[in-house]
Symmetry: C2
Subunit: 246 residues, 2 copies
């Protein structure tokens, strides 16, 4: 069933009105009809099964008929990545949204080859936020992940979080395997984890040091070497396993 997000607040039994792209999609792309059923997520992140009650030129009205269970992780996981090459940011956001990330933060890092000059950042963000919205609809999320860019590691260290970790290849190689599980156990419902990943070339030793001094815990992600774009997906799947399956 198609899922749409609205910025409106409404309760069970009340009516919401889709506008813009969502209304266009339901009416034109999906050829929606009166009485069709879809899923609506309201501004307070509650999902409902809803019935189409009116189709106007550019809007669609729907009545909220049944509350649906949340598909969100109990803790918020923010994925911070050194700016990666080519279209890898697109798919970190797409796959990371499917896998439950609360948000994404991209930052310029020492070994990063790709640059996002300030004049192109607004366009990048628009594109990545659209990918997050589409993936959130497909994955039946209750939350559209945030996407942001910060200037550097210092700005990243200042982001609000309860626990910070840094995915560190050397930790995995040295057989460190407990930090991720311990972090998952420490984090309480509603708290925020900020997980930092390097770009293709990894993080520089000075960057790892700066993160450690800012209380980020180095965490290994198993014995194999994961590419920059694979490591965040491993982390999100691991946390889902520990919080949602165990």
């Amino acid at each position: 069933m198609q899922r749409y997000f609205t910025t409106q607040t409404a309760q069970l039994g009340q009516t919401v009105t889709l506008e813009g792209e969502a209304a266009h999609h339901l009416q034109r792309v999906m050829r929606g009809q009166l009485d069709d059923q879809v899923e609506i997520v309201t501004a307070n992140q509650q999902a409902y099964r809803a019935k189409v009650t009116a189709l106007q030129t550019t809007t669609v009205s729907l009545q909220l008929q049944a509350a649906l269970p949340s598909t969100e992780m109990s803790r918020r996981v923010l994925i911070a990545c050194g700016i990666p090459k080519k279209t890898k940011a697109d798919w970190i956001v797409q796959k990371g949204t499917e896998l439950g990330a609360a948000g994404f933060i991209f930052f310029a890092s020492q070994y990063g080859i790709a640059k996002w000059p300030p004049q192109r950042q607004a366009k990048k963000l628009t594109r990545l936020r659209k990918i997050a919205l589409e993936a959130a609809r497909q994955a039946h999320r209750n939350v559209i992940p945030t996407v942001n860019i910060v200037a550097n590691l210092t700005a990243l260290c200042q982001q609000v979080k309860d626990i910070g970790i840094v995915a560190y290849e050397e930790s995995g190689k040295q057989g460190e395997h407990a930090a991720l599980v311990q972090t998952a156990q420490q984090l309480r419902a509603g708290q925020t984890l900020l997980a930092v990943f390097g770009p293709e070339g990894g993080l520089a030793p000075a960057e790892v040091l700066q993160l450690r001094q800012a209380a980020f815990v180095p965490a290994g992600l198993g014995p194999r070497i994961l590419r920059a774009e694979t490591a965040p997906l491993y982390l999100l799947s691991a946390l889902s396993t520990l919080w949602e399956l165990c």
Copy 2:
């Protein structure tokens, strides 16, 4: 450090000779010199740190100097996927190799839109096996995953395995979350898990029934809807978490 696979059998202190693409890569692409160090995985899946002892026109000789720890999962995980669209098979193999899969099996399924006609299968397999080799080198695997195509679900059910599971969206939706963890706990070291995933449209109810009758256990992968190409990566990350981090 670059890692190369050889089909030769050798022990610590002995010499192996790289040929073909591996020799070309070490000599021409990496501009290898005498005394350079690389990693060599021998035919018995043991990795060594090795030193270049001779560079010939089309071959490179290396002495095995130190045994390296294995990066393999203790159990073998075979990923079976309904043939997916476009280049998705490429990246299931690339990412799945990084995440530790022992092999990949593609099969024609009822809701699959993509077809691999018999006359194109040999070319497909050559391409996918090359991707698996490259990803195994990059991820520092001890094993190059196998890649195969079987004609249909009946042939898939006959593959050798100790436990079979089928990733089933409806299981996840209905809140089933214990099957994967239980399966991970049941599987002993050296045993083989065969995990089946549908194509973009999912598996047909009759296909799920056939798998269940062949003793495949339906397993949910958390509450969010994962795309066909994301679900195998979740599974591999989850099993690594349970076997290698917990």
